[in-house]
């Protein structure tokens, strides 16, 4: 069964991304360093994928850990569902800048705002570079690029601290001395992530068939987004241009 899933995954990868804009800019020798970019810079506007979390230790924290995240995107509308331990989950709908979040343990809808600046979908991989490229490996029948590095765990937990552009893990001194070994597996053909391995956690990325219908946020989410946007705009009007 596992092999079947992987095979489907690989087929989908090929179908979805081979030969499209997300493909590597150029090919390189199978034995040499890979061509840039190492990670696909952007995803199609219509896409969907999942991230599955596996842990090797029990939860030491008060807060539940994520189990799975499902992301579906059609144009500017994005739907995310993140499931946590102990049965809780967060669901969010993003329409433009407004992101409306609903937590399973609260009846309230929370609106936050993000700007529309395009950025990497997978900033937790921003540390990969030719300098930590370790070679190629066929994983479950898929050719992958392997990267490995000792990094601060913040690069995984909070990659936004490091900005949108890749930066050298050698500059992490100010983040303290704690380091973990992280291994990234990137599908060579699509430059999409396959797996991220850490000492206590593994994340598996599965890219699915693009949705065929435009997402339609539930009315309550749309209303919350509209209300939030109006609220912000009512309190922040620009003065005259200087």
């Amino acid at each position: 069964m596992k092999n079947l899933c992987l095979a489907i995954f690989c087929i989908l990868n090929v179908l979805l991304y081979n030969g499209k804009a997300q493909a590597p800019a150029s090919s390189a020798s199978p034995d040499g360093p890979p061509a840039l970019p190492l990670l696909a810079p952007k995803l199609p506007s219509w896409c969907q994928w999942t991230v599955d979390y596996r842990y090797k230790t029990s939860n030491p924290l008060d807060a539940p850990r994520p189990q799975q995240k499902v992301v579906v995107q059609t144009g500017s509308i994005r739907h995310e569902v993140e499931k946590f331990e102990r049965g809780s989950q967060e669901e969010s709908w993003a329409t433009g800048q407004a992101v409306v979040v609903k937590k399973s343990d609260s009846p309230r809808l929370v609106t936050i705002f993000k700007d529309s600046t395009p950025g990497a979908e997978f900033p937790e991989f921003n540390w990969i570079a030719l300098s930590n490229f370790k070679g190629r490996m066929k994983i479950d029948g898929v050719n992958c690029l392997i990267f490995r590095q000792m990094i601060t765990p913040l690069r995984i937990g909070h990659p936004e601290l490091f900005g949108s552009a890749p930066s050298s893990p050698n500059d992490d001194g100010a983040f303290g001395t704690s380091r973990i070994e992280v291994t990234a597996m990137i599908v060579e053909s699509s430059r999409l992530p396959l797996e991220l391995q850490m000492p206590t956690e593994t994340r598996r990325y599965t890219f699915l068939q693009p949705p065929v219908q435009m997402l339609e946020p539930p009315a309550e989410f749309l209303a919350a987004a509209k209300e939030g946007q109006a609220r912000i705009e009512s309190t922040t009007h620009p003065l005259s241009p200087p």
Binding site: D105, H158, S164, A174, T177, T236, L239
Partner: protein, 1202 residues
């Protein structure tokens, strides 16, 4: 006998004939003699007339050459903003001053001739200075040589004006013999032929005369029609020490005794001073207080620019003035002054009271951000944030820029100026500097109509109908401030705020806290980061705030000036409040405790911490100001942005469960709840001045504050202080034990703001006005997103404690004086120690960057973008943090307190990419000897001085704090006291990179009624005369708040003067008096705004780009390492002393010309020695030339009678 008679008759006839012949001969001789004499007289008169014509013609040629020198030394093409007007901006600072002859400049030490610029010479200075016109003097025609008929102009004659140092500097007989070096640079004759001046190598019959000249920098001297003060105020730190005019120059520094100064003033300012003793022919003793106060009152308020006499009449006498230099010399002889002192004295100086600010055209542009409607897009991508002027600050037409070259902005719609003069098309829009004395109109209860006929509206664009309401700003734009180029078409002069906008570097304001992440949450700034950032980015708002801060520096009371744009569409409007000597919101603590005797309830309180960071005025701990608010309150309510998502209080989780067991349901802000905290402050009689951060947490504390609010008694199980009555802004109560498993299941965790990111509250700090209205003078939105978790189990304290992960204990401002950058979440609040060991007034330490308090909030790796992204040590968490203490320095250096790992730099860039230093900027330099390397990696308050850090705590360090004047400005450089609204940065004049230096050029102290905006009594700040600078700086008050009234010492002013001369005599003459602070260093070539931005991106250190006297000050012997070098307001003493007495725009020159008519004798061979002098004329032309326009502002021709 008859024969004898006939012979006798013949003898008589002979005698008669002989006598007649004698008479005829005598008549003939007399006739011839008279004819010869009259011919000689006639020839002499004709010769002198010819000489007069030669002299005047020579002066015209010299002035023409000087004008051409200006043209040659200016950028091309020179702007011609209106027909007939050309603006000449110096190509380089060195072109801002007249070129000194190389031989003159080479004279140093005792041989130096500081006043001499050049003489008529044979060596073309063009070899050194291409700007100077070719020399016209002929070789071999030295003026000190002897002519064919024995006349000469020896070096003593040349020094008849005493402009050259005397050979005998201590002599008293007024021997004019100059220092010997003058002989080596003495003028040569310019030979004039019938076709004009010509360089000849041999005598020629076409020569009709000759002239020679010397040009002196009279502008570098003290104008004796203005300078000096009577003995009654000599040494007064509060009168003389505040400077503000050349009248406050200490003439004893140039060799007069104070008695001689009194006599000078008694003669010159008799009617003004109204001396009680002395007479017209006698000496005066001006030691009585009245003479001093009369004089002080006049010179500090005079609007005549000292160009006319005070019309006052006293005892049938008026004031007098020197009409010529020869008058001055006569008085000096009569009063036995030291003749050597005359070289420091002028009788004719002119400045133009008009801004000529010329921003460097290659200054860096505002980086990143996109102006427009997309609110989020103001964020920066690399170098801090841009502001709302991104992409708009430079138009390609400099006169239309936000910071334009002032002289290029011209009237396009004619109008009548406030002084009644007509402003035609082409006139400068800003014809005169804006006098700060106009601020007197803005009293606390003043009102104004929205009409140009109302002076308040005309000068400030402000109006209101009620003296208790906020001022409304709308001078044609209800939501903004016009550029000067906009005003040019409006048929009026720019107002106060428009001038601030034009003068303040727009790249140095509008800084917000955004950074380059792609997400903005409310909680990122601890509070409505989105809203706060949006507000902070708007430069118009900061200009309005700066204006209010200036107004409240001037205003005597402590009631803040409130201003808002009349058409502000925001909810609530962006009202600004002027900075006063009042407590401000500094930190807020979210406090959870178990209460009551049975302990069944817990309560969440918001506890504000207030801080008045201003220094003590004198020894009083109360608030300064002639009238102060005394009754205050803090209230908290839902922020308008929370509409529809009100803050509801808290949720509580109990030990057994992971889900919320209790959620408060009552609206936080309904009816009369929550109750505010009320308290007293500010009275002189011992009430607390909040001079240290003070937590409002206990009823009645601090002492005498009468703090009241909802009170809660500690659960008494927890000692040691079971009886304390805590208070705060009540949020919600919750059961201490769960409803399902009481009493064993104790509350484990409390979460404030269960409504998540949406909920935002707003703090309001208010005072009661005399009518009982609560007036908000400080407010701050805050997103109280907080988790509290029991730190130990079972609990050992009545309060829940921070435990782990995402727990916050409140928020903090970087600078309590501003909401800019918001309340930053902070979990270090519980660890902040109290001031002292047994503080009973709840005073807490500041976030000063010594003694372990630098973290303030959170630390992280980023610095270049300005805002540290942080996380908690040892565990990842996400929130942006500040290292508050470092923002009091903002220096490019490695910090001495660093987290584990590589030391990093902690600074923030302004929107143009320049990291401008804050009030403590020089402190950090000293801490590491001015070097960023090697990094200072350790240090505590015991090993590093804290003088100079505005957060410094303790009575010994109050000089380092900000301060409020509460009186009219006495120097335009006192604007440096005003707060800029950039955290811990005033309108500083302490750093060469300052964005506020231009204020020194755009503003002045008093009105100027001269039609052409001229003023007398301004010293060329590029002077070479150290004693002149000494006189201006002598006695300058270092610190107005220090009861000991310290003044610059004699050795300090000597060192400062020498350094200023070193700087200006090199490659960095001042081009504008704002350059005293600093300017872009020409030794760092920068070709374009983009290149500047690129250079800054790779090397942000402002020292690499900017240079200025302000930076020199602290490096000088006797100042380096002392408080004067570290404390901005003491450091700026030099600026306050020099700014109003100085100019760097006008060339005030004295041209000493001697012209001789004549011819070469027959067979002449020597160009110099065979010239026959037939007539001579000598003039001293005093002339004021505007370097920026080339126009002659004024001149005085003085015929020299030798």
């Amino acid at each position: 006998m008859r024969f004898h008679q006939r012979n006798s008759r013949r003898g008589v006839a002979l005698v008669i004939i002989l006598a007649f012949l004698v008479l005829l001969v005598g008549v003939a001789i007399a006739f011839l003699s008279r004819a010869i004499t009259e011919r000689q007289v006639s020839n002499s008169s004709a010769g002198n007339t010819k000489a007069d014509i030669l002299a005047r013609g020579g002066l015209d040629i010299i002035l023409g050459d000087l004008n051409q020198e200006i043209v040659n030394g200016s950028v091309t093409p020179a702007p011609t903003p209106t027909p007939g007007v050309t603006i000449y901006f110096p190509k380089a600072p060195a072109d801002a001053v007249p070129v000194r002859d190389a031989a003159v400049a080479a004279l140093t030490g005792s041989l130096a001739i500081p006043n001499l610029i050049r003489v008529s010479g044979t060596a073309a200075p063009s070899s050194q200075s291409p700007e100077v016109e070719t020399a016209l003097a002929s070789p071999g025609a030295l003026s000190t040589g002897t002519s064919a008929n024995g006349t000469s102009v020896n070096i003593s004659r040349w020094n008849a004006g005493y402009m050259i140092p005397l050979s005998n500097t201590t002599g008293t007989n007024f021997d004019t013999t100059p220092v010997s070096s003058f002989a080596s640079v003495a003028p040569s004759w310019v030979m004039v032929t019938s076709t004009g001046p010509a360089v000849i190598t041999s005598p020629t019959s076409s020569v009709i005369g000759r002239y020679a000249y010397a040009i002196y920098d009279e502008g570098g001297l003290l104008d004796m029609n203005v300078a000096g003060y009577p003995s009654s105020i000599s040494g007064s730190a509060t009168l003389v020490g505040l400077k503000g005019s050349e009248a406050m120059a200490d003439l004893t520094q140039i060799g007069l005794t104070q008695d001689q100064v009194d006599t000078l003033l008694g003669w010159r300012n008799y009617a003004t001073i109204q001396p009680s003793t002395g007479s017209l022919s006698g000496s005066y003793n001006l030691s009585d207080a009245a003479s001093g106060s009369n004089y002080f009152q006049y010179v500090t308020t005079a609007s005549n620019g000292f160009l006319t006499l005070n019309p006052q009449i006293y005892s049938n006498r008026t004031d007098q003035a020197f009409n010529s230099r020869q008058d001055l010399i006569k008085l000096a002889r009569a009063e036995s002054w030291s003749p050597n002192a005359l070289q420091y004295m002028a009788t004719f100086t002119r400045d133009i009271e008009q801004p000529s600010l010329y921003p460097n055209p290659n200054r860096p542009v505002i980086v990143s951000g996109v102006a427009g409607t997309n609110q989020n897009s103001y964020k920066a991508t690399y170098a801090g944030t841009g502001n709302d002027a991104y992409g708009l600050d430079r138009t390609g037409t400099p006169s239309k820029d936000i910071n334009p070259p002032f002289l290029t902005v011209r009237v396009t719609t004619p109008f009548t100026r406030p002084d009644g003069s007509y402003a035609p098309v082409g006139d400068p829009v800003v014809k005169k500097r804006f006098p700060l004395s106009r601020l007197a109109l803005l009293t606390t209860g003043a009102t104004a109509t929205q009409s140009q006929s109302n002076l308040i509206y005309r000068y400030f664009g402000l109006y209101r109908t009620s003296g208790t309401g906020p001022w409304l700003y709308n001078h044609g734009n209800s939501t903004g401030i016009y550029r000067l180029s906009d005003v040019a078409a409006l048929g009026r002069e720019p107002d106060f705020f428009e001038l601030l906008k034009a003068a303040i570097n727009v790249g140095s304001i509008g800084k917000a806290s955004c950074y380059s992440s792609n997400t903005m949450f409310y909680y990122e700034m601890g509070t409505a980061g989105y809203l706060q950032d949006f507000r902070d980015n708007q430069t118009a708002l900061q200009i309005l705030q700066i204006g209010a801060n200036i107004i409240d520096q001037y205003k005597a009371d402590d009631f803040p000036t409130r201003i808002q744009f009349s058409g502000d569409p925001n909810i609530p409007p962006y009202e600004v409040r002027g900075m006063e000597d009042l407590p401000y919101l500094y930190r807020v603590h979210n406090w959870i405790m178990r209460v009551g005797s049975s302990g069944t309830q817990g309560v969440l309180l918001f506890q504000p911490e207030l801080w008045n960071p201003n220094s003590y005025p004198g020894s009083s701990a109360g608030l300064s100001g002639t009238a102060v608010p005394s009754y205050f309150r803090v209230r908290v309510a839902d922020d308008p942005s929370s509409n529809g998502s009100p803050f509801t209080g808290l949720s509580a989780i109990y030990n057994s469960g992971a889900s919320t067991d209790f959620t408060s349901s009552s609206p936080f802000n309904s009816g009369t709840t929550p109750l505010p905290l009320t308290f007293n402050a500010g009275e002189i009689n011992g009430y607390w001045g909040f001079r240290e951060p003070t937590l409002l947490a206990q009823i009645g504390v601090p002492g005498s504050s009468h703090l009241s609010g909802t009170g809660y008694t500690d659960y008494p199980v927890f000692t040691p202080n079971p009886n304390r009555i805590m208070t705060g802004i009540f949020v919600a109560e919750f059961p201490w034990t769960s409803s399902t498993a009481a009493p064993t299941d104790v509350c484990h965790k409390v979460t404030a703001s269960p409504n998540g990111y949406n909920s935002c509250v707003r703090y309001y700090l208010q005072y009661a006005d005399p009518y009982g209205n609560w007036i908000t003078y400080d407010e701050q939105p805050f997103q109280p997103f907080d988790n509290f978790t029991m730190s130990t189990w079972p609990p050992t304290t009545p309060e829940l404690q921070e435990f782990a992960t995402t727990d916050f204990y409140g928020g903090a401002r970087t600078d309590p004086r501003t909401s800019r950058w918001g309340f930053i979440i902070s979990e270090y609040l519980p660890s902040i120690p109290m001031v002292g060991t047994s503080n009973s007034n709840n005073e807490y330490c500041t976030f000063r960057p010594d003694g372990g308090m630098s973290y303030g909030s959170h630390w992280g790796p980023r610095s270049d973008i300005g805002f540290v992204q942080g996380y908690t040590q040892g565990y990842p968490s996400i929130y942006r943090g500040f290292q508050h203490g470092y923002w009091t320095e903002n220096s490019i250096r490695n910090v001495y307190q660093t987290p584990p790992g590589t030391p990093g730099q902690r600074y923030t860039r302004d929107p143009d990419g320049v990291p401008r230093r804050a009030m403590g900027g020089y402190w950090s330099d000293t801490a590491n000897n001015g070097n960023p390397s090697p990094p200072v990696t350790s240090g505590t308050s015991s090993t590093l001085p804290v003088i100079g850090l505005p957060m410094a705590t303790g009575t010994g360090y109050y000089a380092s704090r900000p301060t409020i004047l509460h009186r009219p400005f006495r120097s335009v450089a006192e604007l440096g006291y005003a707060f800029s609204d950039n955290p811990w940065r005033n309108l500083d004049l302490s750093y060469p990179e300052s964005g506020f230096a231009g204020l020194m050029d755009v503003f002045c102290l008093n009105e100027n009624t001269d039609a052409n905006a001229l003023a007398a009594g301004r010293v060329d700040l590029n002077t070479r005369q150290a004693p002149v600078l000494n006189a201006i700086m002598s006695g300058a008050l270092l610190d107005k708040d220090d009861p000991t009234m310290p003044q610059l010492s004699g050795s300090q002013i000597g060192t400062l003067a020498a350094q200023l001369i070193t700087r200006t005599s090199g490659s960095m003459p001042l081009t504008n008096r704002a350059d005293l602070v600093g300017s872009w260093n020409p030794s760092t070539p920068i070709s374009s705004p983009t290149a500047a931005a690129t250079a800054l991106a790779s090397n942000p250190d402002p020292n690499a780009y900017y240079s200025g006297f302000s930076a020199d000050i602290g490096t000088l012997p006797g100042i380096d390492g002392t408080p004067v070098s570290l404390i901005p307001r003491q450091r700026e003493t030099v600026m306050r002393a020099l700014a109003d007495s100085g100019t760097a725009r006008v060339w005030n020159l004295m041209i000493d010309i001697i012209a001789q008519s004549g011819r070469y004798k027959p067979g002449a061979k020597s160009v110099g020695g065979d010239f026959v002098v037939e007539g001579e004329r000598r003039y001293w032309l005093h002339v004021a030339i505007d370097r920026d326009t080339g126009q002659i502002l004024d001149k005085q021709l003085e015929l020299v009678n030798e």
